[in-house]
């Protein structure tokens, strides 16, 4: 009787043959949908351990994650597009650079693997990169705050468009034909700049074996000078196309569980809307700070995984701690974003009623 009562909560997956607790998939979908819609990244580093915990073998966890990521990013891109946050021209140009860069990086790492074991070096490189990104984000926030404080001290009005780190201004001085204007991003620069940046971020993603949203977002902000909201929307547009491409190849290799991806999409559809709409109410720098925290969380989870390999006696404890940390971070951030979205929506609805 008890079994009958609980049975409906489990679904037998047709391809992998594993039985999965489907409400877990919906909850995971909501969480990563919120974070993905808010930050503009696929978030594979969050989804894969979650799917693994629910019982998916690693190979299926990655393929299923990519399939769900494509659908989730489509939902977020639709919404961001209506807010004017997606620069399609920039997204398409960067997609080309990313794909070529990714292939070069992937081929390079395969060549290095033939020479010897490079896994540890790759993981350390990833850690260095994440530390650099976290430093950039928080240093940018600190510089921006200092600028605002100085403006207030001098009795000037705070410039809402001012930024902390302004490397993009130097890069925009390169006047190499053809020059392109990106309407939604509001920037004019040489076409070679987004190509070079996307090639570089794609190359890094290829070497590290990651999706790349975590690298592309800060690159769009600090090297290209995109406003935060446009960086989020444009990155999601890129994730959507590359995700579909990835879903096809992983499915061809028998590693995608579409039924699980669809169940996750039910949650992600709601989550992505919440995350995307929250960007209406949270200032650009609020998004950057939360992004910086996500990067720190990702770095900590990698450190724990590295320690697990070095200290086999504590491997189980360290691996579990890594997964707990990631899922805890997903829950805390989703909650924060949802609360901010609800508060903002309430204020907006109240303002409309008062008019």
């Amino acid at each position: 009787m008890e079994d009958l009562f609980m049975d409906w909560l489990y679904v037998l997956m047709p391809i992998s043959g594993v039985t999965i607790f489907w409400p877990g998939l919906v909850i995971l979908g909501v969480g990563v949908g919120i974070i993905g819609g808010f930050f503009g990244m696929g978030g594979a580093w969050m989804v894969t351990p979650g799917l693994n915990i629910l019982g998916f073998p690693m190979a299926f966890a990655i393929g299923t994650d990519i399939a769900h990521m494509a659908g989730k990013s489509l939902i977020s891109t639709m919404r961001h597009g209506k807010f004017g946050n997606v620069d399609y021209k920039l997204g398409l140009i960067m997609l080309v650079g990313t794909v070529v860069g990714f292939e070069v990086g992937a081929q390079m790492i395969m060549w290095l693997e033939r020479l010897g074991n490079v896994e540890m070096i790759v993981r350390l490189l990833y850690l260095v990169l994440l530390s650099l990104i976290a430093w950039m984000v928080f240093s940018d926030v600190s510089k921006k705050r200092k600028k605002d404080r100085d403006a207030r001290a001098k009795g000037h009005e705070v410039d809402a468009l001012s930024t902390g780190i302004e490397w993009h201004k130097t890069l925009h001085k390169i006047k190499l034909a053809p020059m392109i204007h990106f309407h939604a991003a509001g920037i004019t620069c040489t076409a070679w700049l987004p190509i070079a940046i996307s090639f570089f971020t794609g190359w890094l993603a290829g070497i590290l074996g990651i999706g790349g949203g975590l690298i592309r977002m800060p690159a769009l902000l600090y090297l290209l000078g995109c406003p935060t909201h446009v960086a989020v929307g444009t990155d999601l547009f890129e994730v959507m196309i590359s995700g579909l491409y990835g879903a096809f190849t992983y499915t061809m290799k028998g590693r995608t569980e579409l039924v699980a991806a669809i169940i996750m999409l039910i949650g992600a559809a709601v989550g992505a809307q919440v995350g995307t709409v929250a960007t209406k109410y949270i200032k650009g720098y609020g998004i950057r700070i939360a992004f910086g925290l996500a990067v720190v969380g990702c770095a900590l989870s990698i450190i724990l995984k590295l320690l697990a390999k070095e200290l086999p006696a504590y491997a189980r404890l360290l691996n579990n701690s890594s997964t707990t940390l990631v899922l805890g971070l997903v829950s805390a951030m989703s909650l924060y974003i949802t609360v901010k979205m609800v508060q903002g929506a309430r204020a907006e609805i109240a303002a409309i009623k008062n008019k």
Partner: protein, 102 residues
Amino acid sequence: MEEMMKGIWTKISVFVLMICTLLPQAVLAAGEKADLVVIVADTRGLTGVLHAWGTLYNDSHLYFSLLTIVLIPVIGLLFGTIADIVMRTIGIDLEHRELSEH
């Protein structure tokens, strides 16, 4: 100089588009590289739609994969539209964003 750059630009664009078309493995895939594995789905315990889905997988990987990448955006679009309707019913403006700062 500018004409020469435009010429190079066109050639590179064509070359890059060709590479994108010819390199299906250039995928932004997270995690480990996927090896080519052929798994036959065990459909014995499945019923209804799940059984049909498993059978389709066993019949043709290519058709199954093509259907997967068609279904993902369609389902995403469907769920996204439903979520849109719910949000609109609540009264949230889903067309405009006033904040414009970085």
